[in-house]
Symmetry: C2
């Protein structure tokens, strides 16, 4: 039988498999650290917090003798014994109490591992190590004595240095009134919440647990907030609201205009979003059984106009060339300086950097979540809105651009276009044989055909994409987007008014207004312009990177989640790619915000990325016009679609199952 020599014990830690020798008498918290495994601990080894629980699997490595566990660890006594009287042990030990006396095989359960990992939802399944900017420390501080003239804060600083090795910690001055009461209530013991290992944000008497944060994606239309447990990384609740600025203008440009027209316009929009964020924080906290005052850290992302309005900055310069941001770098500020008073008084806010005036902090968050800079393959990420924000790259270089698609994809400037809302036509199928048509409206499950009653209100962005792609596939429009005279002889749905054709999507008795819903020649032109702008932008970036195809395409954002990749390819929104390599990644901006909330190193990474990403200003690229014109045709003139046939039409049908009823709920499930 092997016994420890020279007073060292061999220890193997599971599941990491890390192993090594540690001196006999070392406690397992310290011992694990020596072997490179960091265990959770709030109390710093005082046998109080119960975070560093471990299981001993085997008392000896010897083959012929299994000695009792008890012989290889110090007995349970004192504070540990008191802890296990209050908690179910299931055979576990507190690592900080258990001293090693012999060889051990130890399992560290997931909840005891520091730097836990959670998986970001975005398609790349990027693992997030949970290492938030705010963490808790339990500190025991000497009480004041007559012969020690220092203040309690200075004594607490000394205790942090001695007990946690943290020097030069500062304190938010607004906390000072609470310092002595907490020390008195805790008899010198306090739990501190520390930001970036630099500043105390909260002081709680005695031992306390719980740090929460909020990751918020401030979209022009929708604002989504994830309330996270900063110790586990878990999303406790997700709350969504309409951006209250919508009442000042639906799209970005109308908000920029409102700021120019009304002397207090910027102030009004700023206060509206801040008030909305306060309400959202309170709603999210309530849903998780917490108070918004428990929120100590907030990460905000948004496009550059939202970014500026959140900060109270007039976005007027973002409304035209050269699209100058007031500030592009990351921002660390106090929530109260922003007016976010619902959260803790000393809570921090981190705002991710913007890439450029037309490529905001939301796109930076998409970059963090989809991580093209970590890929070996060439990845294209497209986030479609009024502008299409484009990322293209791999480990070597990432390019970013914003392409002026205009609002067609959002249903605006389309004859019967509307926002994605109940009643909007979102899916269309046209039989290439007889031009028979069926469609789906948001809020109803079944396909609506010629004979079904309906009350459609209009057609939303994804509906327009499908309708026009189907019209092209069915021979109603040609490659140039022109209505074909011949088609009018095949179906009453194709009508001509002079030379301008139109297509009837819903009959008068299938609409709410009792007037038909049509797609006009102009609508087709608008979509062609939008898709050409997007495709030309992508193409420019591809030329820059000297690649003629991409390996993977991620469609980000709500719109990206709703359009069918096949139809997008038919229309030529996106370049040629294996269809099974085209993925909708949902609200990647929200995921990126969550990543930055849960991991402080990702914030530095984002700041670094913002400098490294090469932003391509499409408007000044001499080749843009050529690419744009070339991309007007359907399908675009450049790339063939060899695989369309093999996926067509079977996969198209499968695509539409399980469509959620309402749009806003969708964001929750992303």
């Amino acid at each position: 039988m092997l016994e420890p020599k020279n007073h060292v014990c061999r220890v193997i830690l599971l599941p990491s498999g890390l192993r090594g020798e540690i001196p006999q008498g070392t406690n397992l918290l310290e011992g694990a650290r020596m072997l490179g495994v960091e265990l959770e601990s709030i109390c710093g080894g005082r046998q109080t917090c119960g975070k560093c629980q471990i299981m001993v699997e085997e008392g000896s490595f010897a083959k012929h003798a299994v000695t009792s566990i008890r012989h290889h660890l110090s007995p349970i006594e004192g504070r540990e014994a008191a802890y296990w009287e209050r908690h179910e042990s299931k055979g576990r030990r507190l690592a900080c109490a258990a001293q090693v006396s012999g060889d051990l095989l130890v399992t560290v359960p997931e909840e005891s591992q520091a730097h836990k990992q959670v998986i970001a939802k975005a398609a790349t399944q990027r693992a997030i190590e949970v290492q938030p900017a705010v963490r808790q420390l339990y500190v025991e501080c000497d009480l004041a004595r007559l012969d020690d003239p220092r203040g309690d804060w200075e004594r607490l600083q000394e205790a942090m240095a001695k007990q946690w090795g943290l020097n030069g910690i500062t304190i938010d001055p607004v906390l000072l009134p609470g310092l002595q009461p907490a020390l008195r209530d805790g008899r010198g013991a306090v739990t501190l919440s520390l930001w970036q290992d630099a500043e105390v944000l909260r002081i709680q008497a005695g031992y306390a647990e719980g740090v929460y944060g909020l990751a918020i994606d401030v979209g022009s239309t929708t604002v989504a907030a994830h309330l996270c447990d900063l110790r586990t990384g878990a999303v406790l609740t997700t709350e969504v609201m309409m951006n209250p600025q919508v009442r000042f203008g639906e799209d970005l440009m109308s908000r920029v205009s409102y700021g120019m027209m009304d002397p207090d316009g910027v102030g009004r929009m700023h206060r509206a979003i801040i008030q909305g964020l306060n309400e959202l924080a309170e709603k999210a906290a309530l849903a998780a059984g917490l108070s918004a005052k428990d929120i100590l850290d907030v990460v905000l992302v948004g496009n550059s106009v939202m970014h500026h309005l959140m900060l109270g900055i007039d976005p007027v310069e973002l409304g035209g060339a050269p699209f100058a941001l007031a500030i592009s770098g990351p921002l660390d500020l106090k929530a109260r300086d922003l007016g976010l008073t619902a959260v803790h008084v000393a809570a921090r806010v981190h705002i991710l950097p913007c890439i450029a005036g037309q490529n905001g902090a939301d796109n930076m968050a998409v970059l963090l979540a989809t991580a093209p800079h970590e890929q070996d393959q060439m990845m294209l990420v497209v986030d479609i809105g009024t502008n299409a924000e484009i990322l293209l790259g791999d480990r070597q270089q990432v390019l970013a651009a914003s392409s002026p698609t205009g609002p067609a994809f959002e249903g605006a400037q389309i004859t019967h276009g509307q926002r994605a809302a109940p009643g909007a036509i979102e899916r269309t199928r046209i039989s290439p044989e007889n031009l028979e048509l069926k469609f789906k409206v948001i809020g109803r499950e079944e396909w609506i055909d010629e004979s079904t009653q309906a009350a459609a209100t209009g057609v939303c962005g994804s509906g327009i994409i499908e309708a026009i792609a189907e019209m092209f596939l069915a021979g109603i429009i040609d490659r140039d987007g022109r209505f074909m005279e011949a088609a009018s002889q095949r179906s009453w749905r194709v009508r001509f008014n002079g030379r301008a054709g139109e297509f009837v999507l819903a009959k008068p008795d299938q609409t709410a207004s009792k007037a038909p819903i049509v797609i006009t020649q102009n609508d087709v032109r608008s979509v062609q312009l939008a898709k050409a702008a997007l495709y030309a932008g992508v193409k420019l970036l591809m030329r820059r990177r000297r690649v003629d195809r991409v390996d993977r395409i991620l469609l980000a954002g709500a719109f990206g989640s709703f359009i069918s990749p096949q139809h997008a390819m038919v229309l030529g929104l996106i370049p040629d790619c294996d269809l099974d390599k085209v993925t909708a990644v949902g609200n990647a901006a929200g995921d990126g915000a969550r990543i930055a909330l849960l991991n402080r190193k990702r914030r530095s990474e984002a700041a670094e990325l913002a400098r490294q990403v090469d932003y391509v200003s499409i408007a000044v690229e001499p080749r843009f016009q050529d690419e744009f014109v070339a991309a007007m045709a359907l399908p675009h003139a450049v790339d063939p679609f060899p695989h369309l046939n093999q996926h067509w039409p079977g996969q198209l049908k499968g695509q539409h199952q399980g469509r959620p009823r309402r749009r806003f709920n969708l964001v929750k499930s992303i």
Copy 2:
């Protein structure tokens, strides 16, 4: 005639006398820097600000030929010419424009010298180098371009790095909304106000001048604010107000009690002083023809209770042993976090460190102003209030203590005691021969004798000191402070009520109440206790430093300015010292605050000093009781007064000339 060789020119700078060779063609701003003379410059050498003016005294060092100045400096042209068209030149040149072409003797006028010096008023005449925490920089920033996606702030950061060598500068986020408008108005040129060469506090379009700061001494009774020009160091105006907390309690202990009794007591006192400070800032700015929004930096000092109440901290723990401060170190915070909203939105506040719970930031300011740590001689600094704060030391070591004198010196707990206010008896003379008496009241110039009409209202602290010292010198009380029976036979003013004597200071027809104003046996005892506490404290420190006499005594604070040093020595308040080495230094705390306002290095020095000063907790010193008992006698039993006779009484009379009429105005002139 000597001509420059090898293209270097010899330059001598007056008044410093620094000299050396600089390359021909160098401008004088740069050249002076090479020779170790820093000139003022806001515009950074752009020939705009006119701060770097110099006079050329001599065009050549050659003895036999005085060539024209014009030949040794480049001609006036371009921006410099434009500057002198708008300003009177008096033969001056802008150093940044004038390039050296030959040997020169140059005078740098005082206003062009960077790091100007002003003299602190405190007795040590400590020179303050003007090097404030906030300074202005003129920066010209590239305008936004389409091919540069960075924000305007990032471009401005780059300009600061290039034009001023300042890297990593941050900006108060509340300023961001004003950044682009300022850049636009200034066509890329802005003047930044920078705190500690680290954070931008203000952005002004184009070229701008003017940075102001406020140094405030928050006394329990009086709050005094000095508004300073941070470029010149000049005090523009001094404003004084009653501490609005007085309505919650006259002295410190009653405010501590109010905080304990009333649930919102601390909040009320905090808001009262903050509102008071806001009003004071506005008043001071108005008096100087400025707006309070021009104030970018504020230095606050105060005793530890004031210090805590300013910060909203309950001072309850300062009310009893161990007198624990919540925080003792220096504090840098934003004025808005303190509620100081009258000043600039991004203004900074610096609060000097406290030495101990009974030796606050005001005493730290006294230490900065009197600088015993820079003396070769042993210096004693005494600031008398409810506690006497004592500093003793020299270059090697400074000791600090606080001695519990009680309120007797402030006129409290004295039968007819009152605060120093019009009507209070402040001076007394008793003839040793016949016990005839004359006195002075605040608000009246002349001495009041037996036959003069008067309406005295009581006797203030300095009046009590003199009265008791005179009673002792005239043989009315003995060394133990007891009234002597024999004295009652010499004058009707000495009366006995049983064994307890009293002395009539003012007859009924000389008082406002028509009742006599008397000094009782108990009053004498109270003053004995107070002076014994002070003297014992001083003595303890002297023992610690192993000295039996001090070389210099500074009496700080209003009380210290009003008492007569001779009488203080007769009573034994202060130890033996040459009378001409005893100086009243007025509001040294205010001077110290001003020093910290004008020189950022002094703030670091104060932080260092707070750690280095050895605080002696008198209450736990075993020898305190012995010293205290020994110090009860008049004059104290330890030190003789060999020089009293030579100064007596002639000097005493001279002492009282030029007494200002009202107390509160006095602080202004300090």
